[in-house]
Amino acid sequence: MNIFFIIATFLYFLGMVKYLLHLATKNRILFILATIMITLGFVAETIAFGQRSMVTGHGPYTNVFEYCAFLSWTVFGVFLIAEGYFKIKPLGAFMVPVGFALMLIAIAMFDGSEATLPVKAYWLTMHRTLSFLAFGAFTLVFAAGVMYLIQEKELKSKHFGGWYHRLPPLSVLDDMNRMGLTFGFPIMTVGVVAAIVWSSQSYGFIIKLNTSTVLLMIGWFMYATLLTGRVIFGWRGRRAAVMGVVSFCVVITALLIHIG
């Protein structure tokens, strides 16, 4: 395995631990260190993918190791952008563990094999790249949702634990939900269309229905409902947060079944 994957995993781990410690202690230095670790980890993983692609001649789309590692890459990428944009310190404690877990699965699944992409892989490449980017955005929606539900519970119950001071205002979290969805959903949709085009070009227009495909379709439908609800019916707050969390769980279950 490329040494940079190992370095990236190690840096992600350090970053994750620091984000969690920052959540507990609110120590500013821990937060700064954590962001540095994740940024360096992201750079290392990018280098690793670059080197691997030069060897294999294609992007990281062919086996479970590549899937998971690339998913973690998009999660960390979206995370770094979101952290810079929203300036929400506890975000790392919620998003980084997801990325790190994916990285761990990737490494556990590494078997040294290198599949080749089928010919005429243009639509397939497009499908996978876009779906993975959408996944990164949905992780943001998920993290925002979890934080929203915790903060909302604090405010409704009127008994403030440590969360109340640590987590950002509800409106900011709802904004994060909206942003993640607005970026993620169109990308996912184009990704699905690309998959249909590719599949009909390769096998004719047949959709193979297995559990993970069905779950993914359900996930897409739920995100579609949430976005429609937001735009047309003004859904927001708790409802949007719950749907963001549940949809993500459906998608990640589909993913795990697919890997398994």
């Binding site: 500013r28 405010l155 009127k158 403030f160 950002p168 205002p169 509800l170 409106s171 927001r236 707050g237």
Partner: protein, 424 residues
């Protein structure tokens, strides 16, 4: 080092005394000039005068004389009798004075612990004194250090994070729901002191869209004018509710004026945008189950008081943390002072020993006849070497212990044992 802090604050003196002792910004320059002329015992000084405290921080030639001169000056300047002054002032010396200043700057000594204004006031007081050359290296360092301590306390503890008044707690809650309040619409239902304070806090957060309603329309108009808001008739305020993000109620109504059905309907009309209801009326104006509606948050007076009580506990905890920071900073500052004092103390000791040696030597050599020049030189060297050998360990040790935590006490003992005076 003769550092003193003499003053009155909200705990030791009623406002009648504080206002008599207060200095206004314009006459501080004149005061300092006058003090320099009248009390030469005062070497450096800073005058801090706020509505809750009047304090003078000074370095003086002698504590007793300095305090006396200062008190005399205050009595004459403010035309206040000595007995009143003595009764209401406190005096802190050296480490207590340092600790007091650090606490004042960090807002640990304030009426509302953690309030942020005091640091700015201390900074202004210091700047004014420095511009008039009333401060020297000691007070300069002391005050600069106190600003760092305040900053440290602010960043390392959550002392200022928790609101400790009901109306401010309401504003903090609103910020946890809406983040930015400046574009929010507020409806005030009823009148009263508390609702007015809450409204003022909201205005301070940038809220400029306020609606006011009251059973007596004239009162609504009057209140609205005060807040630069819009008066609404009491019969039609329901129709305006869907425009409002924050609703504060404080009427004398015997029954709920906002029921769950109404709130649910309003939130529908608002496309589920969040609403924050603050009910400070007793009996309550808003049905408690409004809190169960999605995106509706309702706090009554008890809820707010509970928040404040919890914040108080939290603040006390943080204050303890802050005290520890202050303590360690005081020891560090004392260490710096000792460094300033340790070299002069050693020089003083050496001078003293040398003087004794010389005078004793002269006496003895005068009595001894028949010594050759060589013998005289030998005796001279002998006495020198005895003095140096005897003084060597205390000098080496005082340098060492001056750097420890209790250095200041050791240095004091050192000066006392060898009778070297008090320093300044």
């Amino acid at each position: 080092m003769n550092l003193i802090a003499l003053g009155v604050n909200h705990k030791t003196a009623p406002v009648e005394v504080r206002e008599k002792l207060a200095f206004t910004g314009t006459d501080i320059g004149e005061t300092i000039a006058l003090m320099k002329a009248k009390a030469p015992e005062i070497l450096e000084e800073v005058i801090l005068s706020t509505c809750n405290r009047v304090e003078i921080y000074a370095r003086v030639t002698d504590v007793r004389l300095g305090v006396e001169a200062l008190k005399k000056f205050l009595c004459e300047y403010h035309e206040i009798d000595r007995e009143t002054l003595d009764k209401s002032t406190y005096l802190y010396l050296l480490e207590d004075a340092i600790e007091h200043l650090f606490k004042v700057s960090s807002s640990l000594d304030s009426m509302v612990v953690g309030e942020p204004q005091i640091l700015g006031q201390v900074k202004d007081a210091y700047r004014a004194a420095r511009e008039l050359s009333a401060t020297g290296s000691i007070l300069n360092n002391l005050f600069e250090r106190s600003f760092n301590v305040a900053k440290k306390v602010r960043t390392e503890t959550a002392i200022a994070e928790n609101a400790v008044s009901v109306s401010y707690a309401a504003v903090e809650l609103a910020k946890k729901i809406f983040d930015d309040l400046s574009d929010k619409v507020v409806m005030l239902v009823g009148a009263g002191e508390m609702i007015e304070i809450a409204a003022k806090h909201l205005v301070a957060q940038g809220v400029d869209n306020i609606m006011v309603t009251n059973r007596t329309y004239e009162r609504a108009v009057e209140f609205a004018r005060k807040l630069n808001g819009e008066a609404i008739g009491f019969d039609s305020f329901y129709e305006e509710l869907n425009r409002c993000d924050i609703v504060i109620t404080s009427t004398g109504a015997p029954r709920f004026i906002i029921r769950k059905e109404l709130a649910a309907k309003v939130i529908q009309e608002r496309h589920h945008r969040a609403m924050f209801f603050i009910d400070i009326a007793v009996p309550r104006d808003i049905e408690p189950s409004v809190n169960e509606i999605e995106n509706c948050y309702l706090y009554d007076i008890d809820d707010l008081q509970n928040v404040v009580a919890a914040n108080m506990v939290e603040r006390d905890k943080e204050a303890k943390k802050a005290e520890k920071i202050v303590q360690s900073e005081v020891s560090q500052f004392l260490l710096w002072l000792d460094h300033l004092e340790v070299a002069p103390s050693i020089v003083a000791l050496k001078d003293k020993a040398e003087n004794i040696r010389k005078s004793e030597l002269e006496k003895t050599l005068g009595k001894l006849n028949g010594l050759s020049n060589k013998d005289r030189e030998a005796v001279d060297r002998l006495t020198s070497s005895i003095v140096n050998k005897v003084l060597h360990p205390p000098i080496v040790n005082v340098k060492k212990v001056a750097e420890t935590k209790d250095g200041h006490t050791y240095l004091k003992a050192f000066r006392r044992l060898f009778d070297l005076g008090d320093g300044d």
